[in-house]
Symmetry: C2
Subunit: 326 residues, 2 copies
């Protein structure tokens, strides 16, 4: 008997990851290709599909694909489209689901990357018994997803959970790729903390090993290592980032009163450097009824396969009515 | 045949309103009593119940009560309790549902006042065909309720929708009855705009007819009348209030992407004076995917009976699974 698998695909601005995941969260193969190098969307879909089918055919014939789940920035489940994603090479509205379906011959489900991560956390991670939780992904940008009453909050147009673009700084805020200024993700994300480091280096005299590194070469991992070594600039950058994130998560708590908020992605791997100031300022900014009630947790999906698990979970658990049909 | 009615009760800090509402939203009697004058909670419940039963017995014997719905600040449906409501005379956790049930002999449903208003809007008002909307009540404080996927968002502890206490001013904000500082409702509410008027009168030289009125005597209605007469202080107070409300509603939109946001209560009756700046700053602070997508509407329940309709709607539509059972 063939083993049933779901194909999980995570489309990011830089690269696309894909893999075959069984119902227990076991990954049977995985691969990646560049997203950025495909100027043409249709070519991208064809190459991606061919790569997956090659994996399925060569040496992996014991698998039966029951569906494809895709997480992508600005992926809208209701319409099966990616819409105006500023971090992807293709503009406008992209009919991803219909094109993938034509190529793969199975059901295809698309949602935005943070929603996929949240569903992954619910199915394979730390949110297994939770009905009300929030997922915050801290990558190039800041993505988020909200579960309420055991259902994903999608909103009237499918764009709920856009916390990366709540305004943090109303006057002269940092420029954002969305065309506005002061959005939360320009401060709180892998890119945001780099911008903070460069702002601190510009404003202060403090010695820092980070003065030797260019903007393009600087990574969250490096900032974390510097913080561990006691670098004052790195430490201050984490404190500042956590302060902002914590105060904004407090607003999220007032909206949906979750049981837990999960952090996922590079920045969350900085551990206590980001969790401590975030927790402190989250607690400081909530009404007393919420004090010490909401857990701030690291995603249990951390690691290279997290996003693939999340995307595949879309397929495995579509039958559980996590998603509301329209 | 007797006409079936639901008793709707709205418990406010100053007064309690009650009435009998049939399934079409027709009110068959209504009354009110002071909330503030009852130092003792049990006496309050007894007097309230007796008043209602007197109405039912004297001249209204054609009615059959099928249930009681109650909206109250910090009312928690799951536990049937009012918990730590800073605007009510009784402290701690109050077992309202069990006491009312014992007195009335029918099912009693409690939720917070903003949730009741939202359910009222859904059943009898402007949200009839909506699955995703937000209700904001602008009274003594600022209450709010969120519907998502056709269900009320209650949250893990039943406190979702506490937008009155998101922090607007992080440094040296206005004192709030919750014990914190800078909460949204200290700026945006009937009380909040009064505080703004007095701040403006303190900071500026401008002539204003409002200089002749004491804080205790000033009402939203007076501020609205002054604004209509071109009073610069009143106009500036509305502009400032709307700017804050609009920027915060933008954050709400990023969370749950509603189809509409309804404003209810005294401050919302100021019409364009509050709606125009609110709409302007709401649009300014949203990501482009939300631009001109979310309607900002006046509640269709405006008027003295709005809160009674909302509370009664809890009973009439408990069968429609608006509320998730725990």
């Amino acid at each position: 008997m063939k083993r049933k698998v779901a194909i999980g695909i995570d489309i990011g601005g830089t690269s696309t990851k894909y893999g075959a995941v069984d119902e227990f969260g076991q990954i049977h193969f995985q691969g990646r290709l560049s997203t950025a190098k495909f100027g043409d969307f249709e070519t991208y879909v064809k190459v991606l599909t061919r790569n997956i089918q090659n994996e399925l055919e060569t040496g992996n014939q014991y698998m039966e694909v029951i569906g494809v789940g895709i997480g992508a920035p600005h992926g809208v489940r209701q319409r099966g489209t990616i819409e105006h994603a500023s971090n992807l090479p293709w503009k406008g509205v992209l009919p991803l689901v219909s094109e993938m379906k034509a190529c793969m011959g199975v059901d295809v489900t698309l949602t935005n990357d943070a929603n996929a991560a949240a569903i992954g956390e619910l199915i394979f991670g730390g949110a297994k018994d939770m009905k009300d939780f929030v997922m915050v992904t801290l990558g190039t940008g800041l993505g988020s997803a909200i579960f309420s009453n055991g259902k994903l909050v999608e909103g009237h147009d499918g764009f709920a959970g856009e916390l990366g673009h709540v305004t943090f700084e109303h006057e002269n805020g940092r420029y954002c790729r969305c065309g506005r200024r002061g959005c939360l993700e320009t401060y709180v994300s892998a890119t945001g903390i780099k911008r903070t480091i460069f702002k601190l280096l510009a404003d202060h005299f403090d010695d820092s090993e980070l003065r030797t590194i260019s903007f393009d070469n600087l990574s969250t991992h490096m900032i974390t290592e510097s913080a561990k070594a006691g670098d004052v600039v790195a430490l201050e950058a984490f404190r500042y980032t956590g302060q902002i994130l914590g105060s904004k998560l407090a607003e999220t708590i007032h909206h949906t009163n979750p049981e837990a908020i999960f952090l996922l992605g590079g920045l969350s791997q900085a551990g206590m450097f980001i969790f401590e100031p975030t927790k402190e300022h989250m607690e400081r900014n909530v009404h007393p009824v919420f004090n010490q009630k909401v857990q701030l947790l690291a995603s249990e999906l951390e690691g290279a396969s997290a996003s693939i698990l999340g995307a595949a979970a879309l397929v495995w658990h579509s039958d559980k009515e996590l998603l509301i049909s329209v």
